[in-house]
Symmetry: C2
Amino acid sequence: MSKLTNECIRVASRPGGIPTADNFRKEVEPVPDLQPGQILVQNQWLSIEPAMRGWLADANNYASVPEGDVMRSLCVGTVVESRADDYSKGDRLMGWFGWQHYAVVAPTAVVQNITTSDLPPSIYLGVLGLNGITAATALDKLGQPQAGETVVVSTAAGGVGSCVGQLAKALGCRTVGLTSTTEKAEACKNQFAYDHVINYKTDDMAAALKSACPDGVDVYFDNTSGHISDAVMPQLAIGARVIVCGTASVTSWNPPPMGPRIERILLTRRARMQGFLLFDHMDTYPAYVRQLEGMVRAGTLTYREHITDGLESAMGAIQEVYQGKNLGKRLIRL
Amino acid sequence: MSKLTNECIRVASRPGGIPTADNFRKEVEPVPDLQPGQILVQNQWLSIEPAMRGWLADANNYASVPEGDVMRSLCVGTVVESRADDYSKGDRLMGWFGWQHYAVVAPTAVVQNITTSDLPPSIYLGVLGLNGITAATALDKLGQPQAGETVVVSTAAGGVGSCVGQLAKALGCRTVGLTSTTEKAEACKNQFAYDHVINYKTDDMAAALKSACPDGVDVYFDNTSGHISDAVMPQLAIGARVIVCGTASVTSWNPPPMGPRIERILLTRRARMQGFLLFDHMDTYPAYVRQLEGMVRAGTLTYREHITDGLESAMGAIQEVYQGKNLGKRLIRL
């Protein structure tokens, strides 16, 4: 094939807190020749994740992206050329292809083959991707919600949170969403079917939580940490489970900010608090995808996408997510 | 039988923080007549527990003792008279008989019959009582230590801690004890067989922990909270388990004191932190007693007792425990 030119976004510098467009640079370079065992993928969709802040931090993180590397991202793309077994031209894949037009990767970068034709492929980056499968896996394995229990979700309208709320509702739980704008609160009520929605910027959190959770909070799915969690923790019920899935409300952990100690709450409520990282649970990823595909087809799991066009629009998108500018899964369309 | 006179210690007032002798009063009163279904127990041993501070706090606690009541305590005593099935004069019992010479109770107050004759009965209040069974149950069910893992214990020489250290050692773990005096550190090394002992009052905690736990902390058995925990938490290994069993280093939780937020540690280490209360696990109490009886007989589980004589000596004993004046299980002999 004729030599292809790639455009890619590389990590230019490490952010002190939330990554901005200045932490990235765009480069134009030739696509390298395909080696045996590799595949060439043309990206159609790039994903923006809150977790990217962690991937760009240097301190105390599980998976930093080195400076100078193409920004790590899950993408949906199509195989243009294959020198690997089991992959053919035209295959549609979801995987770690990075913020770029063309990716030359080994099959280990592939998370899944997209074989459905009745569902839009972009949802494999959202409700059927990292966000949805994080929600399903963490809620199921760590949260273990029972029918009739109360499940509180922070960033309730976000990619993970909106899925948690709907999954918990489908299991017969009372669902309480914490969010930050009138628009998001509307989506929580009307689209994501939360039983109660609390705006943590305008409502009296303690009073609103007491009213929404008269028997306490059985499962707290925490994507924020910080003051939002400080209001939820004292309301935990006996035997509560707290899933620490993200810390979106804290801009820097170096040094860690101070907050009220929680040991006494965990002790008196015999509560469990546990960190969750999807990469520890990739063996069950396909099973949860199949479960959620069924719910999307049945209409019991809905989603929103916030799409911008063009590779360059990725560079400022992490910051926009932290500014709360997106409603639904943040995607870049190429 | 002739009318007996009882001496008892009642709760006179609620402490703001750590209970002192002033929070109690001694009373002399007749022993009530035995009703059908009741037993009369004469106490030989009373127990002093760090948990008693919690039982005397009014805020946010799982089991407050009402003002005016006889102070709640586990005791070892002998049945003087019985109007209940299954209990006879001369039976030796461990149970909730309170800080007093004579207790008239229902059989629900009995935790266990002491049927062994080769072991001193006082140990059913210590290494074979609330302390030892707390250690065994929490370590086993919540800590789930594996051979070769590193187990860190705060209040390492205490009633619970010394048992945790020895149990973890018997399972093939590397054990690290945190304690506060030279005398306790000696006991940790020589009697309780800790691999490493750190004096948190004199050692550089961060450096000492790094040196003692080169692969991080897999299980942290926390009896203290506070600054001691602040030094341990950043050293957690991936998949660590933190057992919140007590908060001895924090004098008041109203309002909760501030400390470094731990969500990011739990998230990046995928660690689990869980509160433990033995009363949730009474169904497995007898099984753990039998296990520990075997270890005491085999000499693989040793213990210390700190004994004072006379009912009045109980009144200041909780404060003394919090001042670190005891070495080993704190007991009152009548």
